[in-house]
């Protein structure tokens, strides 16, 4: 993966701030289509992930990619996070990482 630019932790609400930038998000897979995956962000917002995962998907999925719109990510990297995941914690992380502690992340 191209690690040159770090990806920002986003949830649904934060995605719009980073349109055009590299973001990463964990979503809960709702539906999987050809070429896209519909999922729910950790703050219960619908996210569309464009691309096709190579591997079978588990419930939770992390995608790293470019934010296209405020609810779409064009994914480059897909990572399965398993079936149990604490979305709440992740959500908090996103908030913190972009809020108080962003200097630690970017």
């Amino acid at each position: 993966m191209d690690a040159s630019s770090p990806a920002v932790f986003v949830n649904g609400a934060l995605l719009r701030r980073f349109i055009g930038q590299k973001v990463r998000a964990v979503i809960q897979v709702m539906r999987s289509d050809i070429g896209s995956v519909i999922g729910k962000s950790t703050d219960d917002q619908q996210i569309v992930v464009k691309g096709s995962p190579q591997l079978p998907l588990t419930t939770y999925l992390e995608v790293i990619g470019i934010a296209e719109t405020d609810n779409t990510i064009r994914a480059e990297v897909w990572t399965n996070f398993g079936d149990s995941f604490d979305a709440q914690n992740y959500n908090e992380l996103c908030k913190l990482a972009n809020g108080e502690f962003r200097h630690m992340f970017i």
Partner: protein, 864 residues
Amino acid sequence: MAVDLTTGAINKMLNGEVASEADMTPVLQVTELKLIQSKRPNQEAINRYKVSLSDGILSQQGMLGTSLNVLVTSGNIQLGSILRVTQFVCNLIQNRRIVIISNLEIIVEKCNIIGGTHVQAGMPNEPGQQLGGGAGYVNTQSNGGYEQQQARRTDLNGGRYGVSANSPQPQVVVHNSSDAGRYGVSANLPQPQVVHNNPDAGRYGVSANLPQPRVVHNTSDAGRYGVPATSPQPQVSQRYGTGSGYPETSPSIRPYGSAIAGYGGSGLEQARAPATTAYSRPVQSAYQPQSPPMYVNRGPVARNEAPPRITPVAALNPYQGRWTIRVRVTCKGELRRFSNPRGEGKLFNFDLLDSDGGEIRVTCFNDVVDKFFDQIVVGNVYLISRGSLRPAQKNYNHLHNDYEIHLDSASTIQQCQDDATIPRYQFHFRNIGDIENMESNSITDLIGIVSSISPTGSIMRKTGTEVQKRALQLKDMSGRSVELTMWGNFCNAEGQKLQNLCDSGVFPVLAVKAGRISEFNGKQVSTIGSSQFFIEPDFPEARELKDWYEREGKNAHFTSISREFIGAGRQEVRKVITQIKDEKLGTSEKPDWITVCATISFMKVENFCYTACPNMNGDRPCSKKVTNNGDGTWRCEKCDKCVDECDYRYILQIQLQDHTGLTWATAFQEAGEEIMGISAKDLYYVKYEHQEEEKFEDIIRSVTFSKYIFKLKIKEETYSDEQRVKATVVRAEKLTYSSDTRFMLEAMDKLRTGDANSLPVKTESSNYRSDAFNSGIGTSGIGETASVDARREFELPAANQVGQYGNQYSSGARPVSGMISCNACGSNGHVSANCPSLMSEPQGEYTQGRYTGGGMPRQHVGGY
């Protein structure tokens, strides 16, 4: 011979205008004369004469000075004599005026009684007697008949009054209203002096028409004699000063008695004693105020119970003499048996409350128990008298009184009508916040909302007996909550009721009377034998509490002054390993209990277990190391037994490491199993019996570098002159990132708000930040959670109410008393993240977790 008596003198004496001869030397007539013998224990009998002196209108009791006795015995002073009192003192003794005559002049020796019916004021009439009659008085008893007595008196009296019973006399109206009434004159005249009479009258059902020979006190007597209302016994009525020979036992007499005691050394008292004994036992308890006087010619005359003098309970003291109290029973104890060197016995207690709010406990022993046990009902009002006062036994008696009453067979308890002025219960409620400052083992009352209740558990005491125990949480307006422990019966009866209420979602108000404050995990309240529970009571405080709870209390945060349940005395204090050293944990007298999140970096495999004694000691195995006897059996020193099969118990030495440092700790059986995931015995077999080295190593390897939440007990111990701080793993839990993360977030929140309270941000915070990226956890590479799971270097502020404790950060020491209170459920020992009752909320709003009641963490008692 007509001599003028100083009329009005008596009145003045009574008023207090005339107090001694300096004021006047009245001329008075002797209307009564009686010898009182006082028997002092160490002296011979002293004779004193008691007189009634009249001024023609009123008469008054008095005592002749002993120097004057000779005049009486010689006959110079007799009934009817007219004297000028030249030296005297009027004293007020127990509300009675008594004249003490030191010197007098005899004016006329023999004279008819002058004046109309007298109202005797101030003194109960002695069983009057004819002069020279000696100690005895004319006894109804001895006469065997009322009639006779009257007959005897008649002559005496007739002259005196010359008035038929039914002719009202002007004086009668004034002074003798009572008499008038008594004489059947349709006078329902108010009886000013006769305060005492009225109750008597009422008591004995003496109607206004009942002729009552004597004033004041005699009413009762008359009543007692059941003088029928219509019986024309003028003589009777007029038997004024002449005692009917009934014992003056009205309470007013009592004081007189004691007053006289002042004079002549309880002369009167003793003098009475024979009288009363002659009358046989005052059948006090047989008295029922409501029943009409049926004492017609009954031999034994009971003492006058008239309770005009209700003593306030707070004024009771052992030196008071006879008292009567009107009280309500607030609490009745159980019948208890005991045996002491003197033999067996039984006793029971009950608590009383009077209208002034005075409380006192009453104890009855043995026979008295039988007498009264059934009679006492909680909530009823009784008149109690004649008990003895003893100093209260403070270790059993927690009422606010220095004395307690011991009833004996002479005591009386009468039920009387409910007195609304007496409250039902008396509480001295305290706020839970105050309790924190009260000392242990003190008794208090408290009231609060039951927020949770846990099921009954059974605890084994050291003595080996099992006892039921149940805990509940009480909250109140001070913002604190406390754990209330119920023991024994309370668990079942009240406990169940409370449980039902709580389960149904109601948070009942509970008032506790007499709970003991104990120091166990902070401050707790326990029930004792005499505790009482009132569920949803009807007090203003209860209603107030309920309203408050509805409004705010439900969602408010509560600091518990009872610390968490997990482990005895342990609080969930998160620390990092270097803090153990920095803060010198374990060096104080008591061990320190902390929690660390650390990884096992190394484990000694050589001696990971030992052979242990499997014998059960109570419900715990002995676990002492057993020695091999060589023949396959194992011997335990402590139990002194040999066993064939020994237990294997873990004794793991592990090295714990977190981001700050490392330490060694020892894990015993329970923790060891948790860590290893395999029982000690199996592991032992794997290694030694089956020699499966590989498998063994695999197991070990899997264990190391796993991260756990360890609960450690830190204590400094001395090993042959060397002080070492030892850490014991009390509990090891595998780390769940999810919950740990929440924990962290919590902590961050607190940190943040702590910052907001303008406390200097300490290095911890910066450490935290710098470490945020340090996700160097041995396992698990989940990025986000790991980074969030940054080390908790900062100390966690203690309270839920963050502002309250102000988050005292300091790089080294942290408030050791800090406890972690769960925002969600208000209990301690975990945060809302870990809260068993928390429902996961997507918004990460931890602070508003609803309390679901129940589900309190298990309580470990004993053990550690």
